[in-house]
Structures are given as structure tokens and as C-alpha cells.
């Protein structure tokens, strides 16, 4: 059946996120918070996340590309970004943030810039992967949504 096939696809997609470690257990926590009364909770959270993260990344990028970097400000922003990324389970993104911050702290500006670019890439990659995932989830309907992502099969 199409729907079951779709569901399988979705499940596979989801599993790949974990396998690739772009998402971690925290994502499951979010999934668990979802329920009948709030079937699209995860998607909502992710939407909010990407909305803020896009803006933030742009700001940081601008900042580090200038000659006079406001390190404190950048660090603060990255710190906040780390918090939200960790909260949604964006594993790789979070790790990249940590790396970038560390390099900045060490004064390794070039290294930090590189790391930041990598961070940006991971972030965009995550979004690119999650968008179709949620789209398909919506297609199969809330019922499935409620049950499937619940990580029942996937840890």
C-alpha cells in the first residue's frame, strides 16, 4: 500500500538520522512529548529552531567575517545556538558549535572560521533532511505521525 510504503520510507529516513548521528536521543524525547493533542509538536519545534538558527547563523557569519570580531557576542550567540541545537537533538550541529567556540576561544580565528563553515553546512544538511521527513509525516497523517516517530522501532 502506498501509505504503508510511505510509512516505511519515513521510518527508514528517521533511522538514517540516527545512524548518521545527525540526530540523537534528545530527538526521541521530543517525539515522546508529542501526543494526540499535539500531533505536530516536533515539527513545530523544529520549525521554530530553524527560523532562529538561520538568522543566528547569518549574524555570526557576518560577524566573523569582519575584521573586528566581537568575540563575546559571537560566543554568546553560539552558546545559545548550542543550547537550542542540543535541545532538539541536533547532534552534529551541536558538536560543530562546540568546536567553533573552542577555536574562537583559543584565538584560532582561521580555524574557527573553517569550523563555522562546517557548522553551517551541517545545519543546512539537517534542514534539508528533515524537511522532506516532516512533509512525508504529514502525508501519512497524524495517526501515523503519532505512532511512527515514537521511536518504537528505532531506539
Amino acid at each position: 500500500m502506498e501509505s504503508s510504503h510511505l510509512r516505511q520510507q519515513i521510518a527508514a529516513m528517521r533511522q538514517s538520522f540516527f545512524d548518521e548521528e545527525i540526530l540523537d536521543g534528545q530527538f526521541c524525547q521530543l517525539e515522546r512529548l508529542e501526543n494526540r493533542g499535539n500531533p505536530n509538536f516536533v515539527e513545530e519545534v523544529l520549525t521554530m529552531y530553524f527560523r532562529d538558527s538561520t538568522t543566528l547563523l547569518q549574524t555570526v557569519e557576518q560577524e566573523i567575517e569582519t575584521d573586528t570580531i566581537d568575540l563575546a557576542k559571537v560566543d554568546m550567540m553560539l552558546h545559545k545556538f548550542k543550547g537550542s541545537s542540543a535541545s532538539i537533538g541536533a547532534n552534529k550541529v551541536r558538536n560543530n558549535i562546540t568546536k567553533t567556540r573552542q577555536l574562537l576561544e583559543e584565538g584560532n580565528l582561521e580555524g574557527a572560521k573553517l569550523a563555522f563553515r562546517e557548522l553551517r553546512m551541517e545545519h543546512d544538511n539537517l534542514r534539508a533532511k528533515l524537511e522532506p521527513y516532516f512533509q512525508q509525516l504529514r502525508q501519512v497523517g497524524p495517526v501515523e505521525t503519532a505512532t511512527r516517530p515514537k521511536g518504537s522501532d528505532h531506539a
Partner: protein, 675 residues
């Protein structure tokens, strides 16, 4: 209310009410905990809010520290706990922490993606109650209520005491005083506790309870008189009226005697059912006890002393107890037996009953039979514990009931102890008048174990304590009481809350004797199995209640004989108790249930044995939890799932609410009935 969340939180009507320490709504504690969460990141804020809502807390979110501060200032008592991020644009999280600490003195939990040691240290030095590292998991949020309770507890200590008195002591003292002042001390313990928590309800309740139901406290002395009268008349010919005449105690009513007699009869029946020679009940009973209770006797003595010291135990009772204990070797040692017996009784049904194993030690296997028939879903251990309590309680109830009422905290414990044990032993003794013995055997172990420790602790146990007085329904009540007493007596902690660890450990222990102490705890703890007692003060021995519920449920099985059959009652209770015990997943909820049960049982106390029994029967039939004073035991259908129990209890609670005063049961709602 617990619809959406996967949790089994059961929220009663008042769950949504602002949760205030010591509030009636606290029954469901920590449901309804009012949390203010501050974080400038909207994603985190959204997630946190959802998580907190899932925990059934009342959440207010805020993305700016200034806003949060003004919110707090506007409504100083509108929140119970604050969770705040460390890094915020408009104000440093630590600064906010300082402000809150100074102005509102609320517990504040800091949060950050930063887990650097220095930051965490900063949180600590600034006075944060806890420090959470992002990503925050819901499990971490589930336990934040502990900070609220802890803070409250500490505050109370500061207020009340002059600095040297231990909080627990205070409670004890309060309870003691309360106990002595009113015969219906059920509320006392609670009230004292409540007072500590600034709760007025308790006081009211207490007053009402004392006013409404002056209970007859069957002191050791009184009981001895009773037994003497009964013996004089002949157990078969002993009718309340005549007994009353013989006893010639002013103020004692025929009803008092009648219910007491009923209990006594059940007790005797149980003893004889144990295969002990009826006539030699005393002897046989005693001896086995001795054997088993080596440890107990020591406990007894100890407990007695302690109890006496605390004044919990009525001086007289104490003396008698000691005398009994000392005078009768069996008495003391017997005590252990009773416990064992009790255990047996409990284990009758469930082979798993821990006690069953323990019983073996004791000769009380016979006792076990009593419990037979009660298919308790509860874990054997729990049952065992319950049974113990119940059994001993049954008999003891008489004594305990009186005692229980007397000493809000300590006494109940003592009583409890003595009762369970005593029962077993005492029953044997035709001269039941050895209340002391009763107390010691059971009471001691229990007391010593958790109770003593917990006595000072708070909460839940109080409720339980009341249970002791409950005794009414034959065994069941005892069982209930027993645990309850423990719980109640234990100033709350041992029992559901704190004692969980202890108790849970107990339950598994079958060998009652050996673990008498531990068992006792167990029994006490069976409440804990519910984990109810997590709830500290607020939670009254909900778990406990559940247990009771469990017990009553079984009662239905046995139905009818409640009155006449202590055994049944016991078994019923036991069974009932267990199911509830099982609930223990979450103490909280369990306590509620148990409370319900308990309370009903309690109030009736021995006095209502008769009524209680009758009711029990009816209850049994109905398989509904009736916390009403009439039926001490709440009968719940055996298969009552925990959830069912909870709901039943909840219902009961509602029903019982009016009778609260009697039972002293806070009507904890089954809130976290572990499912």
C-alpha cells in the same frame, strides 16, 4: 487529566489548583506544581514548557528575566519553583537568581548548555537549588518538586524551631502533644505536620476530627479490663452490655465495647485458625514468637523505650508493654512472632508473599492461612507487610487504635508495632490484655525500622498513622493500619516516601523474622512500593492507601465474614493492600489510594469494628473502595489494576472527603499511581 501524557498521573479535581505546599491540592503533589520557566531561546522555551506540562505542572513561560522578575513580584506566592537559563540578554541568570532568592525565596533551578565546572559552581554559590545541563530531559524535570519540598522543609525548620529542635522532633512533638490532647489523634499528627507546613486545613481537619469523633482509646489497661471481663463471662457468653457492666469504665459506651469485642473475636478466631490451640493460644503463640523474634524483642524493648520516651506511647501502655514484654518471654519474643504470623497470614494468599518465606521462620505459618484466599495482586511482599500490619493490627487495632489515636506519631508507630506483633501473639493469649506485647512485636520492628526513623519525617505517614486507629475491620484493618501506622507514625517518611527504599527492600524479604525489622519496614513500606511517599509532606501515605485499597479489594472476595473473620479481613486487606502496593510505581498516587483506604479504616478504628465489618461485607460485595468510616476496609476488587484502584480510591476519597476528619486522611489523590 492525565490523558495526554503517557504518564499515569492521576489528577483529581484539584490537580489543577495551584499547588501549595501543604495544600489540599498537594494531595496530588507534585501535580499542579507552579513553575515559572525563563529562557530567551524560544525553541528551548517551547520544549521546556511542553515537558513541564507533560509532568502535569502548571507552567508559565517567560523569555526575559525582567518580565519574570516582575511577574514574581506581582504574585509572590504564585509560583513554586523557577527554572531559568543562565545566559540571557537582558539580565544575567545569576543575577535573577539572586533577586529571586532575596525577594521571594523560591527555589531556583539554573539551566544552561554550558556544563563547565565554573559555571555550575557559580550556580551553587549563588544559591541555585539545582543546575540542569541542556539538553534538558523530561526525567530531570520530573523531580524538580523535590527542591520545593526541601526548601519548604527547611523553612519550616527555621520558623518553628528555635534552632536546636530537629524538624522531625518538632513534628513528633507536635504530634505528641496533639495526640495526647485528643483521643482522635489521627488528625493530630497530621495537623502538627500541617501546621508546620502552614496549612490550615489540617488544623481544621484536626479539630473537626477530634470534635466529631471522640474515639475510645483502647489502652493497654482498658483492654486488659476488657479481656478480664470477657474471660469472666466466657467468650461465648460475653456480650457487650455485660462486658461494659463488668468493666465499669465511665464514658465507655456499649458500642465501643461491641466493636472492640468484635475485633477481639476476630483476633481469637484468627489465632485459633492458626492451628494453635485455642486454649493455648497464648502459650503456643508465644513460644513460636519467641523463637522467631529474637531480634524483635530487642526491638520491642527499644521501641518501647523510645516510644515511652517520646511520650508517644501512653505511659501506661508503655509500662504494660514492657511488662508484658519483659514479663512474658514470649511476649517479647512473641512479638517477632506476631510479625511472622502476620506475615504468614499475608502470605497465605500469595505464595509469593514474602512473608511466607519469612513465616517459615516463625511458626506462624498457620497464620498464613488466614490470609488465604486473598488473591492479592500486590506483591507478596507488600501483602506480607500489609498482612503483618493487618493481622497484628487487627488485634492490635484494638490496642493500637487506642494508642494510635493517642500518639499521633510515635504512638502509632509503637502501636503499630505492638499491634501487629502483638496480635499474633496476643491472640494466642487469651488474655489479650497484653497489649504491650502486641505492640512490641510488630511495632518494634516496624518502628525501629522505618518508623523510628521516619517518625519525624513527615508527611505521608501521618496519614497512615491514622490507620492504626483504624483497626476496625478485623484484620484487614490491622493490616492496613499496620502499614499505615508505620507510615503514619513514621512521620511520614518511612512510609511512603522515604522509606521506599527500605520498604521495598523489605517486601522482598520473606523471612520475616530475620528481617523483621526490615520487614516491618517493608510492611510499612508497602506503601512505599507505591513510591508514594515520594511526596513528602504533602503526600500523605497515598501509597499506603493504595495498599489499603488493595486490601479491601480482596475483601470482596471474602466478603461477608469480615466482621466475624478477621482472617478474611486480613486477607482481604492484605490482598487489597497489595494491589495498591503494586501501584508503587509512584508513591504519590499510591498514597492517595491507600489513604483513602486507610482513612476509612482508620476512622472507624476499633470502635467501629462491628460496623466496619458489616460494611466490609457490603464493601466486599460492592468491591468498591469505601473509605467511609464505617468500613474500615476498603474493598476493592481483586483485579483492581492500580489505575483502577487509584480511581476507586479517588472516588472513595471523594466520598470520604467528608469523613476526612475521621480518618485523618488527606485524601491524597492518587496521583502517580504507577501504572
Amino acid at each position: 487529566m492525565n490523558s495526554s501524557s503517557g504518564k499515569t498521573y492521576m489528577s483529581t479535581s484539584n490537580s489543577s489548583a495551584g499547588w501549595k505546599a501543604g495544600d489540599a491540592a498537594a494531595d496530588q503533589f507534585p501535580v499542579g506544581l507552579r513553575v515559572l520557566v525563563v529562557d530567551d531561546d524560544p525553541t528551548c522555551l517551547m520544549i521546556l514548557e511542553k515537558m513541564l506540562r507533560t509532568c502535569l505542572y502548571e507552567v508559565t513561560k517567560c523569555n526575559r528575566a525582567e518580565t519574570a522578575l516582575s511577574m514574581l513580584r506581582e504574585n509572590k506566592s504564585g509560583f513554586d519553583v523557577v527554572i531559568s537559563d543562565v545566559h540571557m540578554p537582558d539580565m544575567d541568570g545569576f543575577k535573577l537568581l539572586e533577586h529571586i532568592g532575596l525577594e521571594m525565596d523560591l527555589p531556583v533551578i539554573m539551566m544552561s548548555a554550558d556544563d563547565g565546572k565554573h559555571v555550575v559552581m557559580k550556580g551553587v554559590t549563588h544559591g541555585a537549588c539545582d543546575y540542569l545541563i541542556k539538553p534538558v530531559r523530561i526525567e530531570a524535570l520530573k523531580n524538580i518538586w523535590q527542591h520545593v519540598v526541601r526548601k519548604r522543609k527547611n523553612e519550616w525548620k527555621d520558623f518553628e524551631q528555635s534552632g536546636s529542635v530537629e524538624e522531625g522532633d518538632r513534628q513528633l512533638k507536635q504530634s505528641e502533644e496533639a495526640d495526647y490532647s485528643s483521643s482522635a489523634n489521627e488528625g493530630n499528627w497530621k495537623s502538627s505536620k500541617r501546621r508546620k507546613d502552614d496549612e490550615d486545613e489540617t488544623d481544621d481537619r484536626d479539630d473537626t476530627s477530634s470534635l466529631k469523633k471522640p474515639r475510645v482509646v483502647w489502652s493497654v489497661e482498658l483492654h486488659q479490663q476488657f479481656v478480664a471481663a470477657v474471660n469472666q463471662l466466657g467468650i461465648d457468653k460475653a456480650v457487650p452490655k455485660k462486658i461494659l457492666e463488668l468493666m465499669n469504665v465511665p464514658g465507655l459506651t456499649r458500642e465501643n465495647v461491641a466493636s472492640h469485642l468484635q475485633k477481639y473475636r476476630l483476633y481469637l478466631r484468627r489465632l485459633s485458625g492458626v492451628s494453635q490451640h485455642p486454649s493455648n493460644l497464648n502459650n503456643s503463640f508465644m513460644s513460636p514468637q519467641e523463637a522467631t523474634f529474637g531480634p524483635l524483642s530487642s526491638l520491642n524493648g527499644l521501641d518501647l523505650q523510645t516510644l515511652a520516651a517520646t511520650g508517644q506511647l501512653p505511659a501506661q501502655s508503655l509500662v504494660t508493654l514492657q511488662a508484658a514484654g519483659l514479663g512474658r518471654p514470649t511476649g517479647k519474643s512473641g512479638i517477632p512472632m506476631p510479625l511472622v504470623d502476620q506475615r504468614n497470614i499475608f502470605s497465605f494468599e500469595n505464595p509469593k508473599l514474602r512473608f511466607g518465606d519469612g513465616q517459615q521462620h516463625v511458626n506462624n505459618n498457620k497464620q498464613m492461612n488466614l490470609l488465604h484466599g486473598i488473591p492479592t495482586t500486590m506483591e507478596p511482599k507488600q501483602l506480607a507487610g500489609l498482612h503483618h500490619g493487618a493481622q497484628s493490627m487487627g488485634n492490635m487495632n484494638m490496642q493500637v487504635a487506642s494508642h494510635g489515636s493517642q500518639s499521633s506519631q510515635n504512638n502509632p508507630l509503637l502501636m503499630q508495632m505492638a499491634q501487629p506483633q502483638v496480635r499474633g501473639q496476643m491472640l494466642n493469649d487469651t488474655s489479650l490484655g497484653h497489649p504491650p506485647r502486641l505492640l512490641s512485636p510488630m511495632g518494634q520492628p516496624i518502628l525501629s525500622n522505618g518508623i523510628a526513623a521516619n517518625v519525624s519525617t513527615r508527611n505521608g505517614i501521618q496519614e497512615n498513622i491514622r490507620a492504626p486507629s483504624y483497626n476496625p475491620v478485623s484484620q484487614t484493618s490491622s493490616m492496613l493500619n499496620f502499614p499505615m501506622n508505620h507510615a503514619a507514625e513514621l512521620p511520614g517518611n518511612s512510609f511512603p516516601l522515604g522509606s521506599t527504599p527500605g520498604i521495598s527492600s523489605l517486601t522482598p524479604k520473606v523471612a520475616f523474622q530475620e528481617d523483621v525489622n526490615s520487614d516491618i519496614k517493608g510492611s510499612v513500606g508497602f506503601l512505599p512500593s507505591y513510591d508514594i511517599f515520594n511526596d513528602l509532606n504533602q503526600h500523605k501515605p497515598q501509597n499506603w492507601e493504595l495498599q489499603n485499597v488493595g486490601m479491601t479489594l480482596d475483601a470482596s472476595q471474602h466478603s461477608n465474614s469480615l466482621q466475624g473473620n478477621l482472617n478474611h479481613a486480613q486477607s482481604v486487606l492484605v490482598q487489597q493492600g497489595f494491589p495498591s502496593g503494586q501501584v508503587n510505581g509512584q508513591n504519590r498516587s499510591a498514597t492517595v489510594v491507600s489513604k483513602a483506604m486507610f482513612s476509612s479504616g482508620d476512622s472507624t478504628g476499633h470502635v467501629n469494628v462491628q460496623n466496619g465489618n458489616q460494611h466490609l461485607n457490603s464493601l466486599l460485595v460492592d468491591s468498591t473502595v469505601r473509605i467511609k468510616s464505617e468500613t474500615p476496609t476498603i474493598l476493592y476488587p481483586d483485579d483492581f489494576g492500580q489505575e483502577d484502584l487509584m480511581s476507586a480510591l479517588l472516588k472513595q476519597q471523594d466520598a470520604i472527603a467528608p469523613a476526612e476528619h475521621e480518618f485523618d486522611f488527606d485524601g491524597y489523590s492518587l496521583d502517580n499511581i504507577p501504572v
